[in-house]
Symmetry: none
Subunit: 154 residues, 3 copies
Amino acid sequence: ATVAMTPNTAHCVPAFVSKLWTLVEAPSTNDLICWSQDGCSFLVQDEQRFSKEVLPLYFKHSNMTSFVRQLNMYGFHKVVHMDAGLPKADSQVNCVEFQHENFQRAQPHLLGLIRRKVKLISVIIMQYIIMLVQKQSTHTQLLTLRFSHAEMCV
Amino acid sequence: ATVAMTPNTAHCVPAFVSKLWTLVEAPSTNDLICWSQDGCSFLVQDEQRFSKEVLPLYFKHSNMTSFVRQLNMYGFHKVVHMDAGLPKADSQVNCVEFQHENFQRAQPHLLGLIRRKVKLISVIIMQYIIMLVQKQSTHTQLLTLRFSHAEMCV
Amino acid sequence: ATVAMTPNTAHCVPAFVSKLWTLVEAPSTNDLICWSQDGCSFLVQDEQRFSKEVLPLYFKHSNMTSFVRQLNMYGFHKVVHMDAGLPKADSQVNCVEFQHENFQRAQPHLLGLIRRKVKLISVIIMQYIIMLVQKQSTHTQLLTLRFSHAEMCV
DNA sequence: GCCGTTCTAGAATATTCGATT
DNA sequence: TAATCGAATATTCTAGAACGG
């Protein structure tokens, strides 16, 4: 099953999300990427084979890190397992799980709610402050300038 | 019994606490770590075997001191026994007991209340700044208000 | 060849850097990690095998991403190849290269100059604020006190 | 101009070591 | 002395930044 990728003004599904859905649904690659049992997350069974064999079929790269960067950019979160990082038994080797509240099996109508992240205003402000800081030669100058009593009292 | 460990949500159980609960509950290691009789604390019966055999199954180390550091970081306290410091009878050798008001047998719903100690004040300040930010409608307004106009124009 | 890891007052080599040097020098793993031809950088030939077979021998993990995070933390930079991102010929598959001006073949005396990155000035300022905060009893006091000229001039 | 890819950094927890009480 | 904590590095997950399409 695939999902429309064309921009439908209001509720279009981003290209990445659409590809991801197709990827998880595809029976041919279910041994490498598939839904979790309850359908609320998806699993990558063998990170190494997945990145080299499956990713280039959908994206312009074969790096797990780029795939994860996109997942985070769209608000997905890694599901942490109890045995994370421990020397693994063969049965449990290399299982990665990601989740997003609007990415669920049999719920394609939710996909349009998944949005790419943009910068927060707070981040923009902090960056502005840091830029100012870097232009100052001494700490005292900077600190005197920045936080004055009157400004901080709401 | 296991406890959900998903990060980044509001009321999730920290990974360490989740692992600890699993560890104490696990029947297979009840001879080394188990609940106390009243279920209000847990006991480590043989520190040496526990650290070498059980810890590496859940953590990236096999040191009792690292385990204790984490316990203290999450607000657990050692329960001091009356015979502490005395030459120990064989029956009492190597018994360590730790306690936390929200870590009790058959009360997993309390685990979410166990919090890692952090420098909370920094968070409070950041939230305060963010709150200030969110009260402003435009960037220019905000910047003018917070930090004097002259300073922000680089 | 190994490098002393003991803190020698002034110019001790950080544990990570020492391990990295040992790792690159070790003849037994030269097929997976070795010096570049000119000795000014090092190469990881097969990222997948390297991460699973070599990393756990030196670190508490087997993730390339954790290794790269440390490299960046110590000021190493990835050397970008011209064929990055292209469909790779078999001979060139999976070759990763990193470089640091003080990490060179036959120059172990430079290793002490490699330093872990520390927090940015903005963070230091925040911590200073926190220290001030902890001296105050109430929020109102704190906010007024915090950002006044006199307090911030160290 | 937004999205995708890559390299690097931020932020929180984890581990170690030594100081404090 | 024993229990707790501070601080530095280590590991993990997520985000910033630069660049190109």
